[in-house]
């Protein structure tokens, strides 16, 4: 059976791993290769590297760490941040990234999703969505890497998921901004709605604080993977313990 995935997310800013709260006040948490190897050894199923400054600073050059990460990892990894063109995507894939994830550039120009799918196949195209609850609806924000540059897109999250999949996304990472970094639990209601519409793998992001939160998101929202950052970086939840307990709770997990 297909295992549910545990995915540490490493936000990369200026070549080091950082973490903020609700996308703000970033602090350095460590070296990219050291953290990548630590998570590999602890049993992470996959890693995501978000180059969080890229989109807002308009950089498209493949970072030099992609190839280094690929050399040391024997698990898959995804690279996100500032990928606006086929060439930028190709550079990262050729250096060994298994998937590329696009967020703001796809909102600016949705045809980019179709173009990437045609060039590389659906299986390596992830669309990341930063979703915000405005009191009534879930809406999509872009350029969330820098609070001063964050924009409202006017799009409703569920509509954007459907459109992204139709255009060629092979996976959706749904990040609930209200939950980001506060360790209060995943946004189950939103993820359940998204799951109902999303025919491709769906990854939950934002809010993990306890092992119970992971169990809930797999059992209640039926997501394929759960992404988290601070609980892993700060070793609040050790991955081996998390995986053992999830397996004990009856969830299919790779130990």
């Amino acid at each position: 059976m297909l295992a549910r995935r545990i995915i540490p997310c490493l936000d990369v800013k200026d070549g080091v791993v950082v973490k903020g709260v609700k996308f703000k006040n970033h602090k350095v948490v460590g070296d990219i290769l050291e953290l990548a190897q630590r998570y590999r050894d602890e049993g992470a199923d996959e890693l995501v590297f978000y180059d969080i400054t890229a989109s807002t600073d308009d950089r498209t050059i493949s970072p030099d760490w992609v190839s280094k990460v690929s050399q040391v990892l024997d698990i898959p990894f995804c690279v996100a941040g500032g990928i606006k063109t086929i060439e930028a995507a190709r550079a990262r894939l050729e250096e060994g990234a298994d998937k590329i994830s696009i967020n703001s550039p796809a909102l600016m120009r949705p045809d980019l999703i179709n173009e990437l799918k045609d060039a590389f196949g659906r299986q390596c195209i992830v669309v990341g969505i930063d979703s915000y609850f405005d009191g009534e609806d879930y809406r999509v924000k872009s350029h969330t890497g820098d609070p001063d540059k964050t924009r409202e897109t006017g799009r409703e999250t569920l509509d954007w998921i459907v459109e992204a999949v139709q255009r060629g996304a092979g996976e959706i990472v749904l990040n609930c901004i209200n939950q980001d970094g506060v360790r209060d639990g995943y946004d189950l209601l939103q993820l359940i709605s998204a799951r109902g519409l999303c025919k491709v793998p769906l990854i939950a992001s934002g809010g993990a604080g306890t092992i119970q939160h992971f169990e809930d998101v797999f059992k209640k929202a039926n997501v394929d993977g759960a992404l988290a950052a601070s609980v892993f970086h700060k070793n609040i939840i050790p991955i081996p313990k998390l995986k053992t307990e999830l397996q004990r709770a009856g969830i299919e997990i790779r130990i």
Binding site: M1, L2, G121, Q123, L202
Partner: protein, 197 residues
């Protein structure tokens, strides 16, 4: 061991190369038919779409070279699918080295593409799979698959059950990515290079 990775123009060449580096193998990445013919082992990687990959092989004039290889060859992911007669992906003929068709994977009510770690089942007794057991996990990313048949060395289920590993004489294939499948993947690559096949 002289091992060649066929430069198919697809994107996962580097990852396969790095995986061989990690197990201490000396590899050459090439599209030169002479070097491919002379290699002791040949790896045919592949990601992306089948029609594009076949077109690349034709443009590089590698179709006949690959079809006539007698040394062990290992197709990975799309590279494995290309070994068959025909693929439903783009409805195109492939290399035809193994008799069979690649079908659109029926995942039932589960998500497609089949993406993530899944178990190898019914693992056959074969030198390629020494030290690999049923229940071991491997990393898959694909939407098309080869049905289970006489050449199947291990199967996996995601909706339908399909061939995870195949062998016909000197021709081997893995539907998953051994270069991204942790210790299990490394073991399979090592067996492919070192075992007497």
């Amino acid at each position: 061991m002289n091992v060649v990775i066929v430069d198919t123009g697809c994107a996962n060449l580097a990852s396969v190369g790095f995986a061989l580096d990690r197990i201490g193998a000396k590899k050459t990445i090439t599209k030169d038919p002479k070097k491919i013919k002379k290699a002791k082992r040949v790896i045919l990687p592949g990601v992306g779409a089948a029609p594009f990959a076949m077109q690349n092989l034709r443009e590089r004039e590698l179709v006949e070279t690959l079809q006539n290889l007698t040394q062990p060859i290992l197709g990975i992911c799309l590279g494995m699918q290309l070994l068959f007669n025909f693929t439903e992906e783009g409805e195109v003929p492939a290399l035809g080295m193994v008799h069979g068709r690649v079908l659109d994977l029926e995942t039932g009510n589960q998500p497609s593409p089949h993406m993530g770690w899944n178990t190898l089942e019914n693992v056959a007794d074969d030198p390629l799979l020494k030290g690999v057991n049923s229940g071991d996990y491997a990393y898959f990313v694909h939407s098309y698959a080869v049905p289970v048949d006489h050449y199947t060395l291990a199967s996996t289920t995601h909706g339908d059950t399909f061939s995870a590993i195949i062998r016909q004489d000197n021709i081997f294939g893995c539907q998953f990515h051994p270069e991204r499948s942790g210790a299990t993947g490394a073991r399979i690559l090592e067996n492919f290079l070192k075992a007497s096949l």
